[in-house]
Amino acid sequence: MAAEATLAHENSSSNPWGGGKSPFGISWGKMMMWFFLVSDAFTFSSLIIAYGAFRHRLTHIWPTANDVFTHFPFVHGHLPLAYVGLMTFILIMSSVTMVLAVDAGHRRDNKSVAVWMGLTIIGGFMFLGSQAWEWYNFISGTPDGALKMPTGEIYRFPENAPSLHAKGIHAPDWALISPDHKVIEDKAEIARIKAVAQPIHGANLVDNEYGHPLFADFFFFITGFHGFHVFSGVVINIIIFFNVLSGVYSRRGHYEQIEKTGLYWHFVDLVWVFVFTFFYLV
């Protein structure tokens, strides 16, 4: 009886969970990281669902992503999906280097952990740079911009609507593209539009030369929120990287900290998979 009580006491004092072992078989630090990520996933889900709801409501006048994101560095011409495909590759690759750092931590291989963490940080910076370039192109827009009616409708020029061309619809140079992606060839109507419309260039929170301003608002907010997560992840990774270099974890005897920051980093990759689908593919 007394021996049992002592044993129970020892078990509870050896573990803050009080039962002698953690109910989920992991440390509370890792568990709280998981539950933080669940709440963060709810935030991202809500944002993407809000985007989806407005897109379904305004489906006939929603901009076509393949007309918006067509640039690739040092290459002229319309290359939809190429650049964002590369960004996705960079983020998946940095997820792989992160999980290899975790793996090296399990082997207590301090040097390998440092190398893989370093590569993960480089991947993070490459992604942030790519996103800055993507934003730059979206904000600066096309050379000719578009026409905005006093009532807010956006009429675009055919050269800025390569997706119509891809669908086999050929619009003459002087034509206009209506908000619902139809070619306007009636010269009287074009003159009527041009008489009252104002030229706009690029995208910001008020105007979007590619179509409905909500597209730009959601793009800036969701990719911005994701980009801020990537930035936070890079900062955390840098702190961990210097801890690895100074031998904090080899002295501590385990590399669980790498697993926790790794969970966060993979989550950032996971969110991008959804952003990629709903902003660029669908």
Binding site: F24, S27, P80, I92, G253, D269
Partner: protein
Amino acid sequence: MADHNNETHGYYTGDMHNQFVPEHYDPKNRGVIWRTFWILLVITIGEVAIAFTSLSKELLEVIFITLTVVKAYFIVAFFMHLKHEKMSLAYSILLPFVLIIYLIAMSLTEANYLNLWDNMFK
């Protein structure tokens, strides 16, 4: 009995919290990591490739969303290691997302109705 194994192979952190950290190192881990990488890469390239085919918009949407969920599974199960955690942890993380499915259904139903309403008087 993977769970049993995890509990017996591990160590206490020895710091102020003195937590039990289960060990599950397996030399095959790196093979799994690279296999997951190739699966994610091939799916992403496949998605970009079929975006330029003449498949109908609706079919493409179904394919893209299915492949996205498949990619999410591989990231969560293997990169985030959830497949090898206890089932109780996996369920407490995954079950709340039933609410997200409900929110999607609710929001899109409402949005589609408003779309109809917007265009009714045009």
